[in-house]
Symmetry: C2
Subunit: 539 residues, 2 copies
């Protein structure tokens, strides 16, 4: 067989050739633009040639510091299709971490959204490798900035070559993109994605039984493009010629609901907090979201109440996905087997809330000290993962050996497997609560709390306890209409109906909000630090 390498250029070239009139709907800081793939491809070629004029060479890292829009999409292809590496920088990192990741990746050129320029200006003096800044804006003029040397994206595109070729002789194992993931201790860790990994991952997203990304889709990527390849959606959607909706800077749940209604979005993907927020909007203002054939929710467990609301009230299939920065990211999806066609809504919601079945291409195991755990839905073990789009190291990082062993990625997630082979993450290794020698799953308690009608968000953490070693502590944000109308005791009673009494948190605190990570996940580490002495005085 031909040794044709699996490269990202196949994707943009296919859209350019066979779907030139399909388009990208891009919300930028000035409004909404519709740009056909014919133009996107030309602009991508212009960008590639312009970046090389500015010094980009094979293997160089080019950073992006940007929201989801067509320019970011162009960079997603222009950089790797000439053999350089797109480093998507998380715009929500602290100044210290931001400085670290850009220096650690040794970014040579940095593409920055116009509204994010002030963030980079603040750390400019500490950046050691960046030789050129490019400001992404709808205007050709360069805004007032202390960054130097600096160009405007649209101005350099004008000078670029719209027929510039992509490289077809790259090694498919060559790096195409990279992304940093926050670590429990120390600076974020870098993960490098190869052309091959992204290619195979994108193909898996197009499988009928998986996300089924297809030409007739109008796919809205809510998950940030500065985070784990935006779950691979921009690549798959381009390859298969789907219409794309990129919601741009500082969007709100209401803006998303408007985009779904107006553009007739058929599928979308983001973290649960987004869908919780959109539900609130929909309850106040009935936007028409009936065009949706699928909402994919990942990055954290989706409360059953959330899944039920979309499935029952809005008749929109709501599927949980699971992955990590280290896994490109899609590892498993809570798809339903055809044998479940007769399931009741309760049973169906139960499956949709699981971590799901591994997608073709990826192997998973849940292991404890006795090897692979039985598929009984009860025995917990650590989830380990293997496959062609799973990282095998952290970029130039000693912490590689913590996670990558014997050819497997040790995810640090604790899971069970049911009789049908569905995974269910019950906790992070470090979030498990060890009470009197027994394990308690913080995630199951959180899900139970979030299924209570009064609860908007809930986190449960392990807090040191003088007698039991650790005990669970609940942190709850009430829905506004329930504030001061429900007590911790009532919530504890509610949990007692579902769990053994020793699982129920000794205390439940009400808060204004749960601190979140830069990508919208609960920042339980912060809660643990803040509340570590909460049980210190008890006997």
């Amino acid at each position: 067989m031909m040794k044709t390498p699996l490269l990202l250029s196949s994707m943009i070239e296919r859209a350019e050739r066979y779907f030139p009139e399909k388009y990208v709907i891009s919300r930028t800081h000035t409004g909404i633009q519709r740009i056909p793939y014919r133009e996107i491809a030309k602009r991508t070629r212009r960008l590639a040639s312009a970046l090389e004029k500015l010094g980009m060479k094979k293997g160089d890292r080019v950073g992006t510091f940007a929201w989801n829009h067509h320019r970011h999409l162009e960079a997603y292809f222009a950089v790797p299709c000439r053999g350089a590496v797109l480093h998507m920088v998380n715009i929500r990192l602290s100044e210290d971490h931001l400085t670290h990741v850009i220096n650690h990746a040794e970014d040579k050129i940095l593409l920055i959204d116009v509204d994010l320029v002030p963030v980079i200006e603040k750390i400019r003096d500490r950046l050691k490798t960046v030789e050129h800044f490019i400001i992404m804006s709808d205007e050709k003029a360069i805004p007032e900035t202390t960054l130097f040397p600096v160009s405007s994206y649209e101005a350099i595109l004008e000078e670029g070559d719209e027929r510039y070729p992509f490289l077809h002789d790259l090694d498919e194992h060559a790096p195409a993109a990279m992304c940093y993931t926050s670590a429990t201790t120390g600076y974020p860790k870098g993960v490098v994605y190869s052309h091959r990994g992204l290619y195979l991952h994108s193909m898996a997203l197009g499988l009928s039984d998986q996300l089924s990304v297809q030409e007739r889709d109008i796919a809205m990527t809510v998950v940030p493009m500065f985070h784990v390849n935006a779950w691979g959606l921009p690549y798959a959607a381009t390859w298969f010629g789907a219409t794309q909706v990129l919601p741009g800077p500082s969007f709100t749940p209401e803006i998303l609901a408007q985009l779904i209604e107006k553009e007739k979005v058929t599928m979308t993907a983001g973290v649960p907090t987004i869908w919780i927020g959109m539900l609130k909007v929909l309850q106040e203002k009935p936007y028409d979201i009936s065009s949706l054939r699928l909402i994919v929710s990942g990055g954290a467990a989706s409360p059953k109440g959330l899944i039920r609301a979309y499935e029952e009230t809005y008749k929109v299939p709501f599927m949980t996905g699971y992955g990590m920065t280290e896994t490109t990211p899609v590892v498993s999806l809570a798809t339903l087997k055809s044998s479940m066609d007769h399931f009741t809504v309760d049973e169906m919601v139960d499956v949709r809330g699981k971590t799901g079945l591994p997608v073709p291409g990826v192997e998973v195991k849940v292991v404890n000290e006795n090897g692979e755990v039985p598929w009984d839905g009860k025995t917990m073990g650590e989830l380990i993962v293997r496959g062609p789009w799973i990282a095998d190291e952290y970029y130039n990082d000693e912490r590689t050996q913590e996670a990558f062993r014997d050819g497997w990625l040790y995810t640090g997630d604790i899971a069970v497997v049911d009789q049908e082979g569905y995974l269910k993450i019950t906790d992070r290794t470090k979030d498990l609560i060890k009470s009197g020698g027994e394990w308690i799953s913080s995630v199951e308690l959180e899900n139970a709390l979030m299924s209570h009608e009064a609860v908007f968000e809930a986190a449960v953490i392990a807090v040191p306890h003088p007698k039991w070693q650790e005990r669970p502590l609940g942190c709850v944000v009430l829905k506004s209409e329930y504030e001061n109308k429900i007590t911790a005791a009532e919530l504890k009673d509610y949990l007692k109906t579902q769990f053994a009494s020793w699982w129920v948190p000794d205390d439940i605190l009400f808060m204004k909000e749960i601190p979140k990570t830069s990508v919208g996940k609960f920042l339980k580490r912060a809660l643990r630090e803040q509340l570590q002495d909460h049980y210190a005085g008890v006997q």
Copy 2:
């Protein structure tokens, strides 16, 4: 990223692990069996261990001489998943060609269907490399045979190890399977398929926009498993956990219609002659085929009347596919773009009858002496193909250089490309008719003839002509009810309404049948030889 190789073992292991209760419906010489993947996987492991006991080693070729059934499926995995190479031998080859391909591939072990044993007995003395014969039958006993040494499939399975492991450290470029394709001159040419090629090809078949093979499918593979991987369906269906229907020995169109009705088949694939035959059956006896979501027709162009009959009368989407033995085989599929949703039936049938759009992963070009032809639906050129599941040579064969040049496969098919990028094969390079310096497409004339209500089958060939160099000659099989009721002149008049007069065949002959190749395609070479002097006497 991990360098996890892309291997066929992923497929059978996934079915075993996640879909053990889904099953294969296998029609054998004694009846219909339903075997769950749990058992198929165990039997496959048993077969792998038994074959190794009989001497199979990494890289060895193991031949199959068999219809479509579960034992053939087991061999499809058992052989390559231990690093050996499955050589599917076409059961319809002449004795001479049969002897050649088995000797040329150097098959060490040969698995033979019980009803096909006499064919191999006749050539046994000329086989130079086969060390062991295995007879596939529902019975454990070995039937009367002159073959030696010989075992029974079910008996060796009994001795096999149902937990025998598949190899996970094979090179993904290693050969997994091979198949011979008939040549214009000389012996058939061998094509070797790698694990990687079959893996990527199978993934493409599962894409939502392509064949969309999925877990809830009941997929009936009509295309023979002794021919080009049965178009990859057995691999894809196993991987994604679909129910499979394998129609076994000497099936008729009526048996297929019965299977569709009884097993509620959702998708099926085969050559146009099969679907023409089934249409005849359905017109006489109204089997319920409404469970079908897709018929894939390939190997030859599908007449529009055929497509229309399935689409209009039976409401079954009927899609043309294109490929060759050299291409694993799927290159393109006549899928519809979403922009064609408003098409009339006529317009839709027109697209469905084209050769289609290339599937993701494959690159195609249509080239003539000026490079790539314009996308005008008129300019003809040769179709060339490139990609990870396209062969780059014939196995130990000097004819490699005829077809493989500059990294592309030159298909020998003449095609045009329309403005949407859809390919349409207009002819084989060698079937084009060169009349007075102009080209005439035999395929277009055939399709037109076959759209006439009286015509069952039609072939048009180039016949040497004293004045025009070559002129078309029509060969027509009438539907039985039209025999002796229509004249050649009437059919010529019919063609004159659609083509320039110089395209219309000078003569049309009525025949009892069109000779066909071993896989059911028109054998135009035989017609040309038989009729080469037909125009010799004209002035």
